[in-house]
Symmetry: C2
Subunit: 175 residues, 2 copies
DNA sequence: GGAAGTTAGTTGCATATGTAACTAGTGTCA
DNA sequence: TGACACTAGTTACATATGCAACTAACTTCC
């Protein structure tokens, strides 16, 4: 951090060169969001990764099923914002470890109804409080006012970028 | 509903079951950060991905070199928060496309001094304004007050999670 | 009722990425 | 000077992931 000087050989800082403010990576919102998201994920995975050797997709499935009880894979994906293949693989992983079970839906045999096994629920009940404590620690000392503003902006960014991302996909599909 | 017996028919919402607030994925900060970061990245990559067929790591190298002019790979990695292998591969990619050049540092032959070629700079000068406009659009309509609060919290989260993430790595190394 | 279209979920394939090992060059200390 | 420790950068390998194709099951519409 704070390596602004870097290699200042001939390495002249580039001047804005044109009207608007120059693009500085460390202030560029998409970059900053990615950095903070990956750092937070990495720190959090210390809690569940080390204890139970699961990854982010498995974690999300576990939490989703812990929250809803019984769900189809598709619903898990929708709720946890994961591609269906990711869900499929995470579920397979958790199934192999006997943390998640599935039974057929007799009303629609294409889908399986997923749920935590007792062992899976035990893991969930062990991890959830730690995860919540972690999230609370992260925000510790942030005033309620800032906190609310942060939530608002985060929600706005999510909504807007979701719209733009979908547009991008549609554009590609329409080709 | 506190059934150890798992499979509860009919997808009942699970009650908190214990004291603290239940863990709800859609409100869980690490999850939300990951979602927004990936959506924003996806939307942004529409700008540089479609136009020049480059990915996030290449984009970061391009911007970093555009900003600093000449740098070593290590410095690029430090500034853009990328693993050295990622930098190495991104640079190789950009070099293949003649957007980045390298020359040896005669004072230390281990490192190469990287910089944009004229073609690379042209790409940078074309993309940077669009990227900045994109970031501005994202935040459009956010009041300066909320904006400042958002920045503050984002910085705090980054710093804190960086500390925790480093701890996690050290712990693994020390084992 | 059944052909055509749609959907849930899995798998094949190509790509991306992190870890560890490696190469080559530099610094240190005796 | 020369062994040892360290560093910049690359590569090998295993894993993760997204897309596309696929299977099996459901729905529509005639």
């Amino acid at each position: 951090m704070t390596n602004d000087g870097a290699v200042d050989d001939g390495a002249s800082e580039i001047p804005p060169a044109h009207e608007g403010a120059a693009l500085r990576l460390e202030e560029f919102l998409p970059y900053r969001l990615n950095v903070v998201a990956s750092l937070v994920s990495q720190a959090l995975s210390r809690i569940y990764g080390q204890r139970y050797g699961i990854g982010v997709p498995e974690w999300r499935v576990l939490v989703t099923l812990g929250q809803y009880g019984v769900m189809t894979g598709k619903a898990v994906g929708a709720h946890s914002h994961m591609h269906k293949t990711k869900v499929s693989r995470a579920v397979a992983q958790l199934e192999k470890r006997k943390l998640v079970g599935r039974r057929a839906n007799r009303a629609d045999l294409r889908e399986s109804l997923l749920s935590l096994t007792p062992a899976g629920r035990a893991v969930y009940l062990d991890l959830a409080p730690s995860a919540l404590a972690f999230a609370r620690t992260l925000c510790d000392g942030v005033g309620p006012h800032d906190r609310a503003a942060f939530e608002r902006v985060l929600a706005l960014l999510t909504e807007r970028s979701a719209g733009l991302a979908v547009e991008a996909v549609k554009r590609r599909a329409a080709k």
